[in-house]
Symmetry: D2
């Protein structure tokens, strides 16, 4: 069996999750190739060396450009903040490396388009990490929808709300500036629910009408040097129209007190409905217009071996998967995609749609009405 | 103690609920006046006589115009279908009667405006029956918001979804024609959630951007004489802006498979949030940014004697109120309002706002953008 | 149509609930006879007169013996504390009155047996008010079990926990003394879950093994005159064996912090299970081993017009009944029973079983082992 | 940093979970020693070799006695069926190896006692894998109880119900015979909830009164050669008394239709209560008698970085851990225990208590009354 050598850039929140998943994936799944934790890049050599030891990487470097150029690296795995995605991805592509990138792909649609073009020109393979779509419960939701079990889809309601910036005393970090994050909640969290909307329905969103708001208009700087304006949205909402004519709405917030991982959706069809909340990530509720009316109701399906990908984690139903397990599934999808056994989805071309939607919602907010998206 | 004599028009779904409440209210509450079930009107004498016996009314008539003119009737209680609201209310007002009217007030804003003018000119008192706002859980929600317990309100999300027309084989009734119902789901159910939005926040909605859809475009006629187009919306959604600048969104549907009384809302403030679902009508969830972070979470408050109006029903907490209990509270509010002990709210002037909002959402749908409402 | 004249003794918590129900029942249901609120007894004339006005009774008396002897009273409705049940019931029976009595029937089994004998000798009709068994959700549970939808019943788990005496500073009242209450939590609340166990399964409990505990061993007297021992159990639990061999367990508490109306049960059968919690009194969860394994789960049934008794309250599903609605159903059952249209259940003979079970659990606690019950 | 070399026996359900955890643990936690996947034993060489490759072990053997004797193995990790625990553990101890063993420790208390003695004589270290007690939510529950946040504990209610043998057509496997499993549901699942009872309260159970039942009295043999009796309990229940006098009850079932991982508990104290269900393994509900009565209710705590062990998996709250993450924590506890940084709990001596309790419940069932346990 072949090996695929990974170069990881960034070891914060997502970098650690990637490392755990790279070590666990070959134990959980029967993979077509073995991921090897080859090289790790951090801000300096000392940190990189320490992190390589902790996260089980063979080598370390204090310079991501060294990693990108390393001949033994097959895949550049980018877990750095959003504003570095483009530069790093283009550099990796220029070296002919495959690119595995955290969401959102880019700060804006123009950058995303440039990245798509570069990747396709170079013929490298790409994957963008919208991990919630790997959750077996959401895979099951997609399966139920695709199979027609709830009939033709009529309505999509989604939200991704958290409260990590609800406290106005919390200082700025890269999330709150335009140059480093692009959109605010809409980019960081809204990207997930927009991706989920298209993933679940199997349809493109063709029109949006959006509204954004910065509620906490200024925050202290982290270094204590005073207040500075917040440059992007704290929460946002939009009406949607999809290609088949189905309608829907989404909202997203980073100041939604009480919500820790409030990615939730309800999809209503002509014959039933499903509803899901990532805070209870291993259950899906299903309603079907079947059987005697007095015995109908939303059924709570606990994820188990009959559902996508679960059996590889555990043979017994209802035992529950966790956040990091989603990344293990994503690594499996990446490895199998690189091995040519299945398509890589979403690749840069598909993931770019999310940046296009974010830009369109922002434009709609500024212009005050509906925006149609091109079919790309 | 004085008596207030009621004349009830219509004995369907809501008419029966009113009758139950008129008999129960004086036993539950210590009222300033006694409601007397004086006269009942139905489509003909036979039906009226039977219904008067069943519902405990002293007299019966087969002609609502007789009821409206009856000298012993103080309040005309209108539970007839929407398209009769205006004619009946104007007739009652012309006779100097007070009017207690089911929602929505009118088929459209122009009619509502005319009704407001007539009532105010005649100096009669009015109340429109948005019963869900009487639920102690929603009264508590309003109290929590008004007291600042969740800080300044930042976002309102609401829906009122049911599935009573999800079955495409279900024939037309008055709900599905423009002339008899006005708007569809938006008028029948959306009126409740729009009223709730303003009731809870204590703010007027000043801008809307809406989208409507008729999904089941034709239905069989009830008499089996063939198919006929559905003339109003099956579901609708809108973005909202309120007077203080807070934003929100609502959706409403009569084809939302699985939802039986899906009136639900989440109100997020700077210091907390509340969330509610009428399908669990006796509980309210409250989150507050207080205490150690590791001990924070949504608290499920079971309605009890510490909360509005509950203690009059039961001295023990958590014993649960039901749908009809809301109407008992509404009757109390009506009696006390007529007795001059508290304002009648919403009266025609306030309730007209809901018709204005419905019209604006429809206009926004047709024109494709935001609509500003006057401050009325 | 005939009338049935009620004499109500006691106007506290339950007395008021009875009064509300007596006025509402004929509006909700199409009854075979009309309940008339004839006479009300309270501790003195002044209170009785005020309460009669509030609760809509025609006449009042300060002496319950007068009520019992009143020739125009058909049914004596006893809502006085437990320790008065026997004396009042025997007096009513001696006058040839029918008796409608709140649970538990008596302070102990010997008294209950005496009451059964008296009623049967006199040929009067009796009903004991275990109101939670009137809840349409629990009626539905019984229907599902009886129909075999969950197969043969294998296990019953029940509890009735509240926290009304969780606070050790709360003073004594009649609940905490042996002479006035009999058993503690076991009598007040445990009686409900024991009744539910037999009601739902349609089986008699034949063996019990129980354990009781007084946790808060003394409380202040209400008049401030010092501390006094608590004389009965604060919580209790028991293992059960039913006639068919199915096993189960119950627990009950009046000091269960956080529980306001924690009457809950799970009934497991060979083909499925149901689970219910009275704090969400209008929903029942049903699991059935049917359909593809990947689509199985507990279904949340919202009570609606397809279920017992609901349609008379409201034609639309999921609109929710409340605590007092259970009493309205009980009044219907009483009226129809008195009119000879259906059996009165539980009458004294059936309700006596609950006292026998309570005594057996107490005896088991003292003797430390299993107790078999006679088949009565 | 030192290494600790593992020899794994058995690669079914639990063996795979151990292997995933051994690879992931050093990436999640900063360990005092590095676990090395040294040697894997399966039923034959071919299977062992394949499994070693899949699960990332360096070497393989078809004979567990070879593994136990291997000089490079430090810890023998036993994931074989229950009936092999004793023989394997004694063999490992005889070789001076540390033993990491799945629950329940032994088929009966006598065997467990023998194993304790052998381990203590040999001076080897031991850990028994009651993984649900590693769940951060249950660690938090213990922390809340120990800190007095719910006051003094008054009552424990627990259950561990599943439905893996609810289908009577499911053939025998080792779980259903006395010689291979010992007790039935009580041993397989009841062991977890008994352990949890003592883990959470920090108290020993001193008296039990139990009841067992084999409902499906015979099953087909797996080889199709006919029916054979089931030799142990399908479900069981017991009343409990703990050392401080607090009382409680447990039940357990392997035929509880609808329950997939129904390990659930409610612990009630003088000042509050907690309630938990492993089917929603990342949330804990907490009630406290604090603040205004009208604002009290069960709070849903989503597990996050403020709670035990979570932050090492994910820095953001509410993102959810899974079943396998519990084993990662267990491996951390094992490594740190072996490194002398924390006690190993439960070791053989502590885990033996569970076998003693199981035996006592069985004896109570046969003798029909209460059984006192020695203080061991």
């Amino acid at each position: 069996m072949t090996s695929i050598h990974f170069g990881l850039i960034g070891t914060g929140y997502m970098g650690k999750a990637h490392a755990i998943a790279l070590h666990a994936a070959p134990r959980v799944f029967d993979l077509s190739a073995t991921p090897v934790c080859e090289l790790l890049a951090e801000l300096d050599e000392t940190l990189a060396t320490r992190k390589a030891r902790e996260l089980g990487f063979a080598r370390a470097t204090g310079d991501w450009r060294t990693l990108v150029a390393d001949p033994r690296v097959d895949v550049v795995d980018i877990c750095a903040p959003n504003f570095l995605h483009k530069e790093m991805a283009l550099a990796a592509i220029a070296q002919g490396k495959h690119v595995y990138l955290e969401k959102p792909m880019a700060l804006n649609d123009a950058d995303a388009v440039e990245m798509v073009a570069a990747a396709e020109r170079a013929g490298v393979k790409t994957l963008v990490g919208f991990n919630y779509a790997r959750n077996p419960a959401s895979q099951l939701a997609r399966e139920i929808i695709a199979s027609g079990e709830i009939g033709e889809v009529l309505h999509f309601r989604g939200r991704h709300n958290e409260d990590y910036l609800a406290d106005p005393a919390k200082p700025h970090d890269w999330h709150t500036f335009r140059e480093t994050a692009g959109a605010g909640a809409l980019g960081d969290l809204g990207s997930h629910i927009l991706n989920m909307a298209e993933y679940l329905t199997g349809q493109s969103i063709t029109q949006v009408c959006g509204q954004l708001q910065t509620v906490i208009t200024e925050r202290p700087l982290a270094d204590g040097s005073g207040m500075r304006p917040v440059e992007n949205d704290d929460h946002a909402q939009a009406l949607l129209r999809f290609e088949s004519g189905l309608i829907g709405n989404i909202e997203t917030s980073r100041i939604a007190s009480g919500r820790k991982l409030g990615l939730a959706y309800t999809v209503t069809g002509t014959k039933g409905a499903i509803t899901f909340d990532q805070e209870r990530m291993s259950e899906l509720k299903l309603y079907q217009q079947e059987g005697p009316p007095g015995r109908r109701g939303f059924r709570t399906l606990l994820i188990g071996p009959q559902h996508p990908d679960y059996a590889d984690f555990c043979p017994a139903p209802g035992h529950g998967l966790g956040y990091n397990d989603q990344k293990i599934i994503e690594i499996r999808d990446l490895i199998e995609g690189l091995a040519g056994r299945q398509p890589l989805a979403p690749d840069f071309r598909q993931a770019r749609r999310i940046n296009a939607l974010i830009d369109a919602i922002e434009r709609s907010h500024h212009d005050g009405g509906w925006i149609a998206l091109d079919g790309a």
